[in-house]
Symmetry: C2
Subunit: 117 residues, 2 copies
DNA sequence: CCCATAGTTCAGGACTTCGGAACTGAAGAC
DNA sequence: GTCTTCAGTTCCGAAGTCCTGAACTATGGG
């Protein structure tokens, strides 16, 4: 497939990460990828709680997360594997991701429920 | 003046905080308030680096920060004192604010430079 | 009382995001 | 090899959000 652009983590400004995760849907997606051992298919995340997310929105969300350096996407056959780049982000911005995920988890919001394994 | 609404910190969802701080201008304002000993007047922050922020935008930014539970505003005479509620937020979402501020600082972005005073 | 200062509100335009429909690319059926 | 199906992307219009200048309100001083 065309070479999906993944920015080096040093080029990602903090506000891009905050923006990406300031959307509860994206936060839920990311928490799910991060919690589920760094691999998921897109369609597996088509629902956050009760709410069904349209495919197109989902695609956009993944694009935002990808461009924020939070995930790495590669095509495996017909579906997409999404690896969390959480270790890289952690190295670049120590404590940021864990604090955010913890914040969502402690708020009882749907943002990180699926990360609770 | 009318009783400016300050939400209790427990009522503030994490995404509101992330959203508030995902704007570099607001991040700079907040970093400045937090770094400068928790008191500032609005007009003292009318410029982020080279960029001049219009009063109306500034007012909106303060409102967003206030409604995200990040600052507490009270009128003293003709001007406004803005206290950082950073301790409360820290208690509610441990490590979140410090990680964000540190991220902005380490990125060399203008988000937290003014906190170095 | 009138003026100056600090901040808020409103309205119009620019920008972003959402979501359905159509499209592309890969795997399996025939 | 070709057709069908599945997974995801792109396109475009609708809806919402954000920015900002202009007008307004509130406070303090002369």
């Amino acid at each position: 497939m065309r070479p999906l652009f993944h920015p080096p983590i040093e080029d990602v400004p903090p506000n891009a990460i905050l923006h990406a995760l300031s959307d509860p849907n994206r936060a839920a997606i990311f928490a799910s990828i991060m919690g589920a051992g760094c691999v998921e298919a897109c369609s597996a995340l088509a629902a956050v709680g009760d709410r069904v997310i349209p495919k197109s929105s989902l695609s956009t969300h993944f694009k935002v997360l990808r461009e924020a350096g939070l995930i790495r996407c590669e095509r495996h056959g017909v579906e997409m594997r999404n690896h969390s780049r959480h270790a890289e982000v952690e190295a670049r911005y120590p404590g940021l991701l864990s604090a955010i995920v913890r914040a969502y988890a402690s708020s009882g919001c749907e943002g990180a429920t699926s990360a609770g394994s």
